[in-house]
Amino acid sequence: MGRHFGDLAKIRHVITYSISPFEQRAFPNYFSKGIPNVWRRFKSSVFKVAPPMILMYLTYTWGNHVHEQGKRKNPADYEKDQ
C-alpha cells in the first residue's frame, strides 16, 4: 500500500554535498541572521494578514457600540413629561 523507499522517484544530474555535524556549528547566525529574517517574513505577510484582522476588529467594536447606543433611552420620547 502506498509508495516505498527505492520506488519513489528517479532523479538524474543532481549532485548533493554535505558536511559532518561535527564540522559545523549547530545554530549558526541564530540571532544575527535570524532576527532580520523574522522582520523580512513579517514584512512580506503583514499587508495580507493585518487588513482583514483590523476590519474584523473594527466591525466588532462598531457593532457593540451601535448595539449599546440602541439600548439607550431617547430623550425626545420624554420631552412632554411633566
Binding site: K48, M53, M56, G63, H67
Partner: protein
C-alpha cells in the same frame, strides 16, 4: 511545517476523548432523573473524576481547534487536491460535529436540554416527513428520557465510527504521501518517519497536552456556558440559547436566514461547501505560498469566521443581524466566487 502536526494531534485528541469518555461512562447514568447528578457525583466523589470530566469537556474544544487548523492548512496549501483524503476528512468533520452535539446533551444541564431541543427541531424543516422524523429522533413527543438514553449511546458509538473513518482517511493519505508548503512533488525528497516525524509529532503532543492541562486546571470554565450548571428544565427556557464556541459560526449563518428550511440549508452547506473547493481550484499553483491575492482572501475568510462566531453568540438584534447576514454572504462568496476568481487573476 508545524501546521502539519494537526493530523497526528487529532489522533491524540480522539484517543484522549475515548479514554476519558470510557472512564466517565463507568459512573454516568443516562436517565433524566439521575444524569445531571451522576456528573456531579463524578466531579465530587470519583477519584480524579473532576480531572477526567475536565479533560473530556475541554478536550472537545481542543479537538475542534485541531480540526479547524487541519482544514485551514488544507485550504491554504491546496491539500484538498488529494480529493479522497479531503472528502473523507469532511465526513470526519461531520461525524465529530454530530458526536460533540449529542455529547453536549449527555450532562443534561439547561443548555444541554435546550440546545438539543433547538437543533433537533430543525429537522422538522424536512418536507412531508419532518415532524415524524423529529419525533423518531426524540423517541417521544419532546426531548425527554428517550432522547437522553439514545444520545448517550450515539455518543459512545460515533466515537468508534470516527476511529474507523480515521483509518480510511489515513489509508488514502498514505497512497499519495503528504503535501508540503511549496505544493510541489516531494517523492525525491523523503526522510524516514523515525526520528524526524516521531520527535516532531511528540513535540506537538507535549505542546497540546500542556495547553489542554493548563486550560483544564487554570480556567476550566473559560469556554463553557454557566447555564449548564443548572439541571435541564423543560419548563424554564434560558434567555440566550447558544451552542459551544465551535458551532457558533454555523449558528450565526443559520440565524442569518429568516426562513427555517433556508437556515438549515445554510448550516448544512456551510460544511458541505468544503467538498467543492477542489472542483473550483483555478490556479496553476497548488498552494497559496506564492499567491498574494488569494492569501488576502484566505485571511478574509478567517476574519469572517471569527465575526460569524461572535455573531452566533450575540442576541438577534440590530446591528448583529445585518453583520451576520453580510458575514454569511461573504463566507459563501469567498468559497464559490472570490477565491476561484483570485486564482484565475493570479494565473
Amino acid at each position: 511545517s508545524g501546521v502539519w502536526n494537526f493530523g497526528s494531534l487529532l489522533g491524540l485528541c480522539l484517543i484522549t476523548q475515548i479514554l476519558t469518555g470510557v472512564f466517565l461512562g463507568m459512573d454516568y447514568t443516562s436517565d433524566i432523573s439521575t444524569g445531571f447528578s451522576s456528573v456531579t457525583h463524578i466531579w465530587r466523589d470519583v477519584n480524579y473524576g473532576w480531572l477526567i470530566r475536565n479533560l473530556h469537556g475541554n478536550g472537545a474544544s481542543f479537538f475542534f481547534i485541531c480540526i479547524y487548523m487541519d482544514i485551514g492548512r488544507g485550504l491554504y496549501y491546496g491539500s484538498y487536491l488529494y480529493k479522497e483524503t479531503w472528502n473523507i476528512g469532511v465526513v470526519l468533520l461531520l461525524l465529530v460535529m454530530m458526536t460533540a452535539f449529542v455529547g453536549y446533551v449527555v450532562p443534561w444541564g439547561q443548555m444541554s436540554f435546550w440546545g438539543g431541543t433547538v437543533i433537533t427541531n430543525l429537522l422538522s424543516g424536512v418536507p412531508y416527513m419532518g415532524d415524524t422524523l423529529v419525533q423518531w429522533i426524540w423517541g417521544g413527543f419532546s426531548v425527554d428520557n428517550g432522547t437522553l438514553t439514545r444520545f448517550f449511546g450515539f455518543h459512545f458509538l460515533l466515537a468508534f465510527v470516527i476511529g474507523g473513518g480515521t483509518v480510511v482517511h489515513l489509508l488514502f493519505l498514505h497512497e499519495t504521501g503528504s503535501n508540503n508548503p511549496g505544493g510541489v512533488n516531494s517523492d525525491g525528497d523523503k526522510i524516514s518517519f523515525h526520528p524526524y516525524f516521531s520527535y516532531k509529532d511528540l513535540l506537538g503532543f507535549v505542546i497540546m497536552l500542556l495547553g489542554l492541562t493548563s486550560l483544564g486546571v487554570f480556567s476550566p470554565n473559560l469556554v463553557g456556558d454557566p447555564e449548564n450548571f443548572t439541571p435541564g428544565n423543560p419548563l424554564v427556557t434560558p434567555p440566550h440559547i447558544q451552542p459551544e464556541w465551535y458551532f457558533l459560526f454555523g449558528y450565526g449563518i443559520l440565524r442569518s436566514i429568516p426562513n427555517k428550511v433556508g437556515g438549515v440549508l445554510g448550516l448544512v452547506f456551510s460544511i458541505l461547501v468544503l467538498m467543492v473547493v477542489a472542483i473550483l481550484h483555478t490556479s496553476k499553483q497548488r498552494g497559496l505560498t506564492f499567491r498574494p491575492v488569494t492569501q488576502f482572501l484566505f485571511w478574509t475568510l478567517i476574519g469572517d469566521m471569527i465575526i460569524l462566531t461572535w455573531i452566533g453568540g450575540m442576541p438577534v438584534e440590530h446591528p448583529y443581524i445585518i453583520i451576520g447576514q453580510i458575514g454569511s454572504v461573504l463566507y459563501f462568496g469567498l468559497f464559490l466566487v472570490l477565491v476561484p476568481l483570485g486564482g484565475w487573476v493570479e494565473n
